[in-house]
Amino acid sequence: MTRERDRARRDGERSRREGERARRDGERPRREVVTSPRTTAARHPRYPVSREIDEQTRLGEVYMRSLVRTQFRLALFVCTVLACVVGGLPLLFLLVPELRAVRLAGIPLPWAVLSGLIYPAFVLGAWLYVRQAERNERDFAELVERER
């Protein structure tokens, strides 16, 4: 944002200087209706983002950090869920001993969960993660390749 503001200020200075030059030349400056300075409107970057990243400009860094942060948040989310499930199970069996006696299709609950159900759950979690991680990367690629 500061870049854009700087550029806007520079543009403003340039037009003021031109106005002064015109006055020195003895002409009346042409009247102009000032509506709104274009500070908030989106500007097209001079470079494609890939060049900003290659040249390690501040803008390129912002893009890179946002990618890493998005992916890290996703990873951290999966790890947190995993930690709650995996870390919670021993505690659950310890604090609610009745659960250990529950039977699922004839098999004690701890055995049914730990030697059966948890594996498909891992695969499902992994599949959801892969889908979201690839989506994040696609979004980033679109952002970077968008050249206007």
Binding site: S50, I53, D54, Q56, E61, M64, L67, V68, Q71, F72, L74, A75, V78, C79, L82, V86, G87, P90, F93, L94, R100, A101, P108, P110, W111, L114, S115, G116, I118, Y119, P120, F122, V123, G125, A126, W127, Y129, V130, A133, E134, E137, R138, F140, A141, V144, E145
Partner: protein
């Protein structure tokens, strides 16, 4: 039990390994052949190869043995060995592939731009590899003794010799297809007998556990193990975080064409491992019913078919399980030996083909010596210790290296030395000085719960204290690690050194 079938099974598997190794020489000569050829490998084949190399004696024999001996608490072991791949998937798989590193020392060098950190990583790879190889050789001895009555050292020597010859001649390892085949062989060798065992158990009137076992053995945290809750959590931490730091796993990830394929491969690995790990619990539970007083519980997978099915069918099933066990020893040992030999040859000796051959001999003789001389622990326990060392050294290095820009070479070095050193100390104390009792015994036998946090803390704190040592190319490295390969970006020019 007839020895003829068992001997035939061992001879067939060993012969197949040697022959495939001999053909492998012609199929691929250099690492770059391996690398180029691998670009056309699909995720399923690649994942089968990872599974084939990963499922060791500990998975094939050890888990069932520990479940037989200690009951429900041990169910966490296969859960952790599978779940470790989920953690690996979300935290490291794609960035690690994109880093372009063949080995963990390569990654350390690429990320931290420091040869000193690389050397420490190399030493740790060798230590973890040896710790992992030792129980493979011990179990080979145990299996050969159970099947043929040979002395305990013979099986270990056989596996070590076959692996050394294979690795030196350059075969075996480079062929993804062979390792992939090993996975399916191991799955079949464990799954087919289970069907027969369950039929025999039904025919026997489906006997249940004894009343005492049903009240203690079958329930988590109910056995007579001291500090059960601490041990369970420490085991979970070691297995979930240790998987990513195993030296023989990383090289296989390089076989993926890009980061996206690395993720998909990991997803398939999770499914394959999940399918395999449904089986050991069945062996453990049936073993508790039929052979509760087994002297060496690691042999339960081998003895059950003979006990329950009997006759020629029992002998054939025993032969099948024996073949699967030897496939497990050979595939895991080959993968580990190549990784360890590569690191010894390149970072400790001078490099080049001769160094690699010397290194391969070193890589198998040291653990073979340890296997013969050391106290014999349950195989899955020793492998668990290798996971603990990996979790307290390479896990922080990889996770912080990939996600945290402010990691410095000094911080990484301090963390590797502290975490790896403490974990190795605990391992030595357990294997050589043990078994210890009480709280100290639990802390030493399952060190991960305290060594992993210590390692992470040291790495972060020392990095924050040495901000001047942040690698100069970190921004470029981050681009390399995290951006999809389809984007045309400058990723720096670091390449792993040819081995």
């Amino acid at each position: 039990m007839s020895t003829a079938y068992g001997v035939t099974a061992v001879v067939l598997v060993v012969l197949a390994a040697v022959l495939i190794g001999a053909f492998g020489i012609r199929l691929s000569r250099t690492t770059s052949d391996f690398y180029v050829a691998s670009r056309s490998v699909s995720p399923l084949w690649n994942a089968s190869a990872i599974g084939g190399e990963y499922l060791s004696a500990a998975s094939f024999l050890g888990i069932a043995g520990l479940i037989l001996a200690y009951g429900a608490d041990m169910l966490w072991l296969p859960v952790g060995w599978t779940g470790g791949y989920l953690v690996l998937l979300v935290l490291v798989s794609a960035p690690l592939r994109r880093s372009g590193a063949y080995t963990l020392p390569d990654f350390a060098e690429a990320r931290l731009e420091s040869m000193a950190v690389r050397r420490v990583a190399s030493v740790l790879v060798v230590l973890i590899g040896w710790l992992y190889l030792m129980p493979q050789f011990q179990s080979a001895g145990l299996v050969l003794r159970t099947v043929t009555g040979a002395p305990v050292w013979a099986g270990g020597l056989l596996v070590a010799a076959v692996v050394a010859v294979n690795v030196i001649s350059g075969g075996m390892r480079s062929i993804t297809f062979v390792q992939a085949f090993q996975y399916w062989l191991k799955l079949t060798a464990l799954a087919v007998p289970v069907v027969f065992l369950l039929i025999a158990w039904r025919a026997d009137g489906s006997p249940g556990l004894s009343a005492h076992d049903a009240a203690t053995w079958a329930l988590p945290l109910a056995g007579d193990r001291e500090y059960g809750l601490y041990s369970t959590y420490s085991l979970i931490l070691a297995t979930f975080l240790g998987t990513m730091g195993l030296p023989h796993v990383l090289v296989r990830f390089y076989t993926n064409p890009d980061g996206r394929a690395a993720r998909r491969t990991t997803l398939v690995v999770l499914s394959l491992l999940g399918a395999f790990y449904l089986l050991p619990a069945v062996y453990g539970a049936l073993g508790r019913i039929y052979t509760p007083g087994l002297e060496r519980s690691d042999t339960v997978v081998l003895t059950l078919p003979g006990t329950l099915v009997g006759g020629v069918a029992g002998d054939l099933l025993t032969a099948l399980v024996t073949a699967g066990a030897f496939a497990a020893f050979l595939s895991t040992s080959s993968g580990l030996t190549v990784s360890v030999a590569g690191v010894i040859g390149q970072d400790i000796l001078k490099g080049g083909v001769r160094s690699f051959q010397t290194a391969a001999v070193l890589a198998v003789t040291v653990p073979l010596g340890l296997a013969v001389s050391a106290r014999s622990l349950p195989v899955a326990d020793v492998v668990g210790l290798a996971f603990a060392v990996a979790a307290s050294s390479f896990c922080p290095l990889l996770v912080l290296g990939i996600w945290w820009r402010r990691l410095t070479s000094a911080g990484a070095m301090a963390g590797l030395l502290t975490g790896g050193g403490l974990a190795c100390g605990a391992v030595l104390a357990t294997i050589i000085g043990g078994p210890h009792t009480g709280l100290a015994g639990a802390l030493l036998a399952q060190p991960a719960a305290w060594t992993v946090p210590v390692s992470f803390t040291v790495m972060v704190v020392v990095s924050l204290l040495t901000p001047g040592r942040i690698p100069r190319g970190v921004a470029r490295t981050m681009v390399r690690l995290h951006t999809p390969e389809t984007l045309n970006l400058d990723r720096g020019d670091w390449r792993p050194r040819p081995s």
